[in-house]
Subunit: 492 residues, 2 copies
């Protein structure tokens, strides 16, 4: 019996079965357990013995043949080849393609408590309701239209629903229109490309969402950072920047900003809108978190406060419903939406229509609102847990923000600690977070770090913050710095 029939493959592995099989056979050949010139079992036979699809075995054989390890002869089967590489003149992809930019890369260690991912808790997804409403959408009379090529603006019924709601809220105005995007990320990408060519700068918050920084860098936008304080973007600094540098736009997240969780006060929102109106500045308002308010009073969006049409509002179902369904949208004056639709058509024609139809049912049925209510309740408990744990476990000298909603808060470690140094310590204990420099325009914020708590249980949050606090205290002790055991002051 061939040694191939004794192979053990792991169907649960990330490596496809055919690759596992090819790798195993390749090792057998390497070790001489299957000799040069020996015939391999026919694909059908080996598939039967190993309990695999025949396609899987064929794919493995094809890979081995490609690698020059076996040779196929029509009608006779596959044979182990004499070793000898073919002459290859491969494309030099390193020089042909744009380099990858440095982004945050997890260590590869097993993470038990992941503060690095800003995403909702999958365990709370209302799967039964989703199933029921998705089936309704699939049974809907317009199924054939959903399957056919659509409009760059989005699936008509969802677009009308969202625009009407926004108009009723006072968020959409008479001259406004709406486009559906693949989540907020795509809206940021499309806007970065629309704003980029003119050469003027764009103001961003600092620290700011790393995905925005990278998108703007790719589009070669000139970035002007404005510091985020406990009350959101520093409006005095912003005004100074606008006055002296005449940027074309400000991109801002007024509510529960990622990564700080900071929220801009009503007074400062009014000042920002007034500034935009005075200087003809475009405002890009990232509003994906404002539904996730756990405490305090709801504030109006910049879009609502802005009667002049300077604001492009970005929203999404990803943070409040299902990130796996990529549906976000932008509301802005018609001229802006027309440009976005043109750019969207070049990028991917239009957004997937099935998920748009499903999410419309989910919203119209009231299930979305119920789910958001639940998320808010659970989010409030998570927020309480993370704030309590920070107070209790972070060493003296550490400071942290006190968000009233959203998914993340920001910790500043005391001197001489660095977030990267601390990360390597806590990764050993199964905890991860993203160090501050990835959120920094100038790669500063070495002592800052983002804690994303939106997807974790209270118990995980408590345990994770304790591990971070303990590791920080140990590092402080090890650096022989003066450690006091006073509770940490909140960076409110």
């Amino acid at each position: 019996m061939s040694p191939l029939s004794r192979l053990n493959l792991d169907p649960a592995s990330d490596t496809p079965l055919y690759r596992q099989l090819a790798d195993e056979i390749s090792e057998l050949i390497e070790r001489g357990e299957v000799a040069s010139g020996e015939r391999l079992p026919p694909t059908r036979e080996l598939a039967g013995v190993l309990g695999l699809n025949r396609t899987t075995v064929s794919a493995a054989y094809a890979q081995l043949e490609e690698a020059g390890l076996i040779e196929g002869h029509v009608g006779r089967g596959s044979f182990v080849a004499q070793r000898g590489a073919k002459a290859h003149v491969a494309a030099d992809w390193e020089s042909l393609l744009a380099p990858m930019e440095e982004g945050f890369a997890p260590s590869g260690r097993k993470v038990e408590i992941n503060f690095a991912n800003s995403r909702p808790a999958g365990a709370s997804f209302p799967v039964a309701q989703f199933r029921r409403l998705a089936k309704q959408a699939i049974e809907g009379a317009d199924a054939a239209e959903i399957l056919q090529l659509g409009s760059p603006h989005g699936y008509g019924p969802l677009r009308r629903y969202l625009l009407e709601r926004a108009a009723a809220e006072g968020v959409a105005r008479a001259g406004d229109d709406l486009i559906v995007t693949n989540g907020c990320q795509q809206a940021l990408d499309l806007l970065a490309r629309l704003f980029a060519p003119a050469g003027n700068a764009i103001v961003v918050e600092d620290p700011v969402y790393h995905g925005l920084l990278r998108v703007l860098a790719r589009a070669q936008v000139n970035l002007l950072p404005a510091q985020v304080t406990e009350d959101g973007i520093d409006v005095d600094a912003l005004e100074e920047l606008v006055r002296t540098q005449r940027p074309r736009a400000l991109m801002v997240t007024p509510s529960f900003q990622n990564p700080t969780g900071a929220t801009i006060s009503l007074e400062n929102r009014e000042r920002i809108v007034e500034l935009a109106q005075r200087f003809g500045l475009a405002l890009v308002e990232n509003d994906i978190y404002s539904d996730l308010r756990y405490r305090g009073k709801t504030l109006p969006t910049l879009k609502e406060l802005d009667a002049t049409g300077n604001t492009i509002l970005l929203r999404s179902y990803s943070k409040v419903a299902f990130p796996g369904l990529r549906v976000g949208w932008a509301i802005a004056p018609r001229a802006v939406i027309a440009r976005l639709a043109d750019a969207k058509q070049l990028s991917d024609l239009h957004s997937d229509q099935l998920s748009q139809a499903v999410l419309l049912r989910f919203a119209e049925s009231g299930e979305l609102e119920k789910h958001i209510d639940r998320t808010r309740r659970e989010g409030g408990e998570r927020l309480e847990a993370v704030l309590t744990a920070c107070r209790k476990h972070l060493p003296a000298g550490a400071r942290f923000t006190r968000p009233e909603g959203g998914m993340s808060l920001w910790i500043e470690l005391p001197e001489p600690l660095t977030a990267e140094g601390l990360l390597s310590k806590v990764e050993e204990r199964g905890v991860s977070f993203v160090p501050g420099r990835y959120f920094s325009v100038r790669r500063a914020h070495a002592r800052g770090l983002r804690i994303s708590f939106g997807g974790l249980t209270q118990e995980e949050i408590r345990r994770g913050i304790r591990i971070i606090g303990d590791a920080a205290a140990e590092q402080l002790a090890a650096t022989a710095a003066q450690v006091s055991f006073e509770p940490a002051a909140a960076l409110v």
Copy 2:
């Protein structure tokens, strides 16, 4: 009774109901039928009378308030305002945003026979099978995972399925990987951006898919056009370009190219691969039509012929299944897929997972293959109809390609006709197509035009080509050119 209660709105209109309502009320105010200071009916009451949602009425009132036509007073209701515009300092979007590039814009006339859209026939969609398999996907054990944030590489089970099939076909090799994109269009966009920065040129076919031209222009790629002949890209011209200009890549559609329908012969495919290997040229192979072969023999992809890993293969479910579900993919050496995944993450994080799960079921169940078989049968009949109609109805001097599959063919009009001149004539008769200049790198091909026949019935095709042929003959007669009534020669 208020004159508002007599308003008639059209629920079937493209204009949302709230806008129709606001427009109507605005007219009543304009005409003085509702006077300054008069109180409007409460939203609930008007909604009841007109049979609308209360939200719709609120949205209309909000729009009127925004326009300064009415004023709301908390607890007292809404009143018609004194006329007087607010001072607005709006952003100057024309100068803030990149200009829109010229693309083909339909005339706005009603189109009965649309040769301009390259999309499959919606009437042939297997809606019942889609519904059944979509429900299975929704009921699947991994529903919660589908709803959660996914990987930039795509939904794991689909990715494994596609990669394994491609390996079994000999299309994917040992060092290859796969990424799911939002149709082929997104793959083109991501690649354009990855290839753009290095400054070297990219060779494209001429004429070529207008969506590719625009994507490459947006990425500021330097384009080198190589003419498409009856046998696909002119490989002698290509070789000359590669030798003298040292481009970094060739983007090519070997089978049933859009817009010409031309297919590259096996011999020329081998020459192209050999050229790529000799010069380290990257090949981007757009392979979205090859399953739609109605005649002749299947040819291997460049990817299959290329053992050196110079080829990036692009495929999609859009043309062979449902364009409304945005699922395509790229297969290439791992280094390329890693860059694509990085670029994809910046563009929109990842593709929608629900449609990926549904299409996986559709493919695994065998329904996709059955649907493709049907599409091929119907496509063969359409192709026969369009070729016959071209022979019969096009005037002498016109030439046309003879594709063996795909969705489009190319007509060259005789001198002195132009495609744009002809289009304005046939649009009057309810027929549309896209003139050749939109497919031309240098805006040439004034006499060329694309006929997309993939979504039309045989009867529509016959009638449409007859209208085009008649209009061309009339224009020829009118220009006093010598018109012979010989049948047109095929541009084979």
